[in-house]
């Protein structure tokens, strides 16, 4: 079996696993739509008071809200992707078996998580986004090129999101109990991705810092590519650079972690 086919099979498995829970998916769609509604009204009030905040008009701010809700599960912004299972395997020591497999550990989880993300995009993302676009005035492009660029940007965001969560999960080798690390992931994910407020509406130096961090690659950059407020190529470059850095860091940390694994028993 070729490596490509293997990873495709793992990704398909990830996709199908999440596709099994239809009621949970419908519930997630409902919840994302409800949160989107609440956020939209607060943003509308904010932009009413301060038009062109962060360079967006009201329609763009609304688009940003619904995009955030659509990508929330896809990019596992609060966590909840492969890392929960992976950390459990590290805690119980089952990871020793994974390390023994003739498959790359990072590649395996990446494929698995991309399969999950693709399902969440289709199953949980499309409906809230369509609801928002139908009910509110949004700023969506009407040319295929921009939409394709947006999809590329979302794909890169998936890899960046994986890269961040892989690093967090690997801390399990040292910390054993992952509660604190997952909590940190949640905090940074919500705040630095722009889920609560678009990053370009952040004031001063704080804004400059959050816009340079990898979390910016998650919601902010795809949103700007979709709405044409950022050129696609530099955006891809920004996301791609963070993806490479994070994956490489994950690889390094994994090597260090694997040396720590002690298999009990004889």
């Amino acid at each position: 079996m070729g490596a490509g086919r293997l990873y495709a099979a793992v990704a398909t498995g990830g996709f199908r696993r999440y596709a099994t829970y239809r009621a949970a998916t419908a519930a997630g769609v409902f919840t994302n739509t409800a949160f989107g509604l609440i956020l939209v009204y607060t943003y509308l009030a904010l932009w009413e008071e301060k038009p062109h905040l962060g360079g967006y008009d009201q329609a763009q701010a609304v688009t940003f809200v619904w995009l955030g809700q659509a990508l929330y599960a896809t990019l596992a912004i609060q966590g909840g992707g492969f890392e929960v299972e992976f950390m459990e395997r590290i805690r119980t020591g089952e990871v020793a078996i994974d390390l023994y497999r003739p498959v790359d550990l990072q590649g395996w989880w990446l494929a698995n998580d991309l399969g999950r993300a693709l399902f969440q995009l289709l199953g949980r993302g499309v409906v809230p986004f369509a609801f928002g676009a139908l009910v509110f005035e949004t700023a969506l492009p009407d040319d295929v090129g921009t939409w394709s660029a947006f999809l590329v940007s979302v794909a890169l965001a998936m890899v960046v999101s994986f890269g961040i969560r892989y690093l967090v999960a690997l801390t399990g080798f040292w910390l054993i109990d992952g509660t604190g690390a997952l909590q940190a992931l949640m905090v940074t994910g919500i705040f630095c991705s722009g889920m609560t407020l678009p990053l370009n509406a952040f004031p001063g130096t704080l804004g400059e810092i959050v816009r340079a961090l990898p979390w910016a690659a998650q919601v902010q950059v795809p949103a700007d590519v979709l709405m044409g407020t950022a050129a696609p190529l530099p955006s891809f470059l920004f996301q791609g650079a963070w993806a490479v850095v994070l994956l490489a860091a994950g690889r390094l940390l994994q090597t260090a972690a694997a040396r720590r694994v002690v298999v009990q028993g004889g």
Partner: protein, 274 residues
């Protein structure tokens, strides 16, 4: 042994189970301190966002920062109280799915008390602390024309708000008997409701405000009574003035409705089996 009194029995069982979990939590003090602090930071970010918004504007929906902080503090603290007391109930769906609810059914204590106290998480006190801090700031920073009635209304709102949110949690748990996997729906009402109430009612569409005032009366947690305390008109014209004092009634009504839903849910429960 006297007659069986479900409420006394339930509270006793709740106290015993919750006490056990508290002792077990406090065995790992450092971990407890860190997760409680972490919870405080996580929930605090909502408020940081509001502060960031106010770094760009002076008013939001006509409300100033201290006034929004007043709404936020009331909403977050009463939600925190409910979450601390009964938040564990949102794991009921898992118990229904894997059949471990049966264990609770055979124990000689009310099921609701067991479900609510199950894995009682003292760390959720972080949310209460964070909400209280913001409320404290709001009380200092806002220029409310205090009267004895208004002063009494603040603790009253926290108690009634806590009861209303608890009712939402119980209703959500009852819903999970039917929904099982769809437990996330209740987050739209619990966490979503809490987020909604952190912002002024003037921000939202009339239909939404009408919905949470008359149909799903979350507005009585803070919007309606707080409008009275802040001396602002409530954005719905048809609401009588005495509505500001209605939260206790609404809380009792919500708890009764939640109790009925819980009974119906529990009666419909059929264990998993082979």
């Amino acid at each position: 042994m006297g007659e069986y009194r479900p409420l006394t029995e339930g509270l006793r069982a709740y106290r015993l189970i919750a006490g056990m979990w508290v002792r077990s939590t406090l065995t790992y003090r450092a971990s407890f301190a860190m997760t409680a602090f972490g919870g405080l930071v996580v929930t605090g970010l909502d408020f940081v966002t509001i502060v960031l918004m106010f770094s760009r504007v002076d008013v939001l929906g006509g409300y100033s920062l201290p006034e929004v902080a007043f709404l936020y503090g009331l909403s977050a603290t009463s939600f925190g109280l409910a979450d601390l007391a009964i938040g564990s109930a949102d794991r009921l769906g898992r118990r229904v799915r894997d059949g471990t609810l049966d264990i609770l059914l055979v124990r000689p204590a009310p099921v609701l008390a067991q479900v609510a106290a199950d894995r009682f998480a003292l760390r959720r006190i972080g949310r209460v602390a964070q909400g209280s801090l913001v409320l404290g700031y709001a009380l200092i920073a806002s220029d409310i024309a205090w009267t004895p009635v208004k002063a009494l209304m603040v603790p009253g709102m926290l108690v009634c708000g806590g009861a209303i949110f608890s009712a939402v949690f119980v209703a959500g748990a009852a819903f999970q008997f039917v929904a099982q996997d769809a437990s996330e729906v209740q987050h739209a009402f619990t966490y979503g409701g809490q987020t909604l109430l952190q912002y002024p009612p003037t921000v939202f569409g009339k239909e939404l405000v009408r919905g949470v005032t008359f149909m799903f009366p979350l507005a009585f947690v803070n919007w309606v009574p707080a409008a009275y305390v802040l001396g602002r008109p409530y954005p719905l014209g048809g609401l009588p003035r005495w509505a500001a004092f209605a939260p206790p009634l609404v809380a009792v009504g919500c708890c009764a409705a939640a109790a009925l839903a819980w009974r119906a849910g529990l009666r419909s429960y059929r264990s998993t089996g082979s």
